[in-house]
């Protein structure tokens, strides 16, 4: 009984919490953007407008579920599901509290990277299946941007992995008991943060869906709940990247007084707020600037950071580097 029920319960709790908070995040983002733009934002539906997401959800669910006649129907329907599925799957390895994760994988970091790479398919397939020029351009941009940025996204994490000596996210959090990794890995944090922005194609890196040049980019032809899936997927992606930053750099659930999960939620919320602040503050770069920035600035920086971390670690520790990984043992 206990063997089966507990993981299922964990999954149910995490799934519900994620979907509910991604809906709440839409409201929170609009309120925060309004705060930084001297407006109020949605404040009519329910107290402080918190039921706005519910109203939006009712609206989007009752909309006509339309597929354009020129679209490749099967792929068109599949594409929005992919982004939600991959992002939700990636959440499986996030440790929200000690022992409270769907899967305590030894390769959690790599699993996260793999899943965030798979979510590119959603953008590319949506752009392709829509069979329209703006959607295709958006899909192409999405593919180029996410492929370029994910390279140094992976590299920027490797410094943390070196310090922790493990790919297991729970172990990485535990390794931050003495010092959160954003102190020794500040460049890694910044690089990972920017890569995360690009991965979730959030402003200022939202070129795949740049409104003023590509209508809505890869989801131009989408309507109703299929569009809603992209929307939810994007917000889930923000939370995923924020949770990863919390786990890898900000000490995960570690913190005094408050319960572990509260610390995790607090830190993740803070990172999400920074995401939203950047959206409020920064304009979008040109696409060639985005690419040049990724390949010419971020990638070398990530490599230098990785090399420096390795060198310092070699110099400081007497024991061979690999001990940490072997000590973790089979799980």
């Amino acid at each position: 009984m206990h063997g089966i029920a507990s993981p299922v319960l964990t999954i149910a709790v995490i799934l519900f919490a994620l979907l509910a908070s991604s809906a709440a995040l839409i409201w929170a983002e609009r309120r925060l953007l309004a705060l930084w733009q001297d407006r109020y934002g949605p404040n009519r539906v329910g107290p402080l407008g918190i039921l706005q997401s519910v109203a939006d959800m009712i609206k989007i669910l009752t909309k006509d579920d339309w597929v354009p006649p020129f679209a490749d129907r099967a792929v068109f329907v599949l594409a929005p599901a992919i982004i939600v599925i991959t992002v939700l799957t990636a959440f499986a390895v996030i440790p929200f509290a000690p022992g409270f994760a769907v899967a305590d994988l030894d390769i959690g970091v790599i699993f996260f990277l793999a899943m965030s790479s798979l979510s590119i398919y959603s953008v590319v397939l949506a752009g392709w299946a829509s069979n329209s020029k703006y959607a295709l351009l958006g899909g192409l941009r999405g593919a180029a941007q996410m492929l370029s940025y994910e390279i140094f996204m992976g590299l920027s994490i490797m410094g943390v992995v070196l310090l922790a000596g493990s790919f297991n996210l729970g172990d990485i959090v535990e390794a931050q008991r003495d010092m959160w990794f954003f102190i020794p890995q500040l460049p890694g944090l910044l690089i990972f943060f920017l890569a995360g922005l690009a991965e979730t194609h959030r402003l200022p890196f939202d070129l795949p869906e740049a409104e003023n040049e590509l209508v809505a980019g890869y989801h131009t032809e989408y309507a109703g709940m299929k569009f809603g899936m992209f929307f939810v997927g994007e917000y889930l992606g923000i939370m995923l990247v924020a949770s990863m930053i919390t786990t890898l750099f900000l000490g995960g659930w570690l913190g005094p007084v408050l319960p572990a999960a509260a610390w995790f939620i607090l830190k993740t919320g803070l990172v999400v707020a920074v995401f939203i602040l950047l959206r409020a503050a920064l304009p979008r770069p040109r696409f060639d600037q985005l690419m040049g920035f990724g390949w010419k600035a971020m990638l070398p920086l990530a490599l230098i950071n990785l090399l420096a971390t390795g060198a310092v670690l070699l110099a400081v520790t007497d024991a061979p580097l690999s001990t940490g990984i072997h000590d973790a043992g089979p799980r």
């Binding site: 309004a34 930084w36 001297d38 407006r39 109020y40 602040l277 950047l278 503050a281 920064l282």
Partner: protein, 174 residues
């Protein structure tokens, strides 16, 4: 590097906006200030004696650039003119105030009120009883018939305010 500094400065400046006052006026709860001469809902006023000021001269209807005013003149037995009906179609009205400028008797006036939304377009057609108010509007003391030289019942020529008795042009006396 200067670009990075600029980005950080921008972000910080935007963050500081969180502590500024919000400019939104939350309308139904907070009413905006409307100047006394705000050009809103049109009314027909009465003179200090409580009679209709409108003399049905059609000048407002002629001045109206969108032809939203319709009326028809009638005359009381005493010689006072009044509109037998007076209709303003507010779905056409552009609140330009030309009718008020054209009005020789201060009868038609625009008021600081804009809350006249309706669900049915037909409800935006206001009849005379919808337009007439019981007061004098912006000009509390003005009474056209007392100031004008026109002879009506109870006031003959030369009896208006500030008016000299009529000159008998056929008389010989200077």
């Amino acid at each position: 590097m200067p670009a990075l500094a600029s980005i950080l400065r921008t972000t910080w400046a935007v963050f500081l906006r969180a502590f500024e006052k919000r400019v939104t006026v939350r309308y139904p709860e907070e009413k905006p200030y409307l100047a006394p001469r705000f050009r809103g809902r049109i009314i027909l006023s009465r003179d200090p004696d409580g009679e209709e000021r409108c003399v049905a001269c059609y000048l407002c209807a002629a001045a109206c650039p969108v032809d939203c005013i319709a009326l028809d003149a009638a005359e009381m037995e005493g010689g006072r003119r009044y509109p037998s009906f007076f209709r303003i179609n507010f779905s056409r009205c552009i609140f330009c105030g030309y009718c008020e400028e054209a009005c020789p008797t201060y009868a038609i006036q625009l008021t600081p009120d804009f809350e006249m939304s309706e669900y049915a377009r037909q409800s935006l057609v206001y009849e005379k009883e919808d337009l007439l108010i019981s007061g004098t509007g912006k000009y509390p003391d003005y009474n056209f018939y007392r100031a004008a030289g026109l002879a009506i019942k109870g006031k003959d020529k030369g009896e208006a305010e500030g008016e000299a008795p009529p000159v008998d042009v056929r008389g010989l006396l200077p």
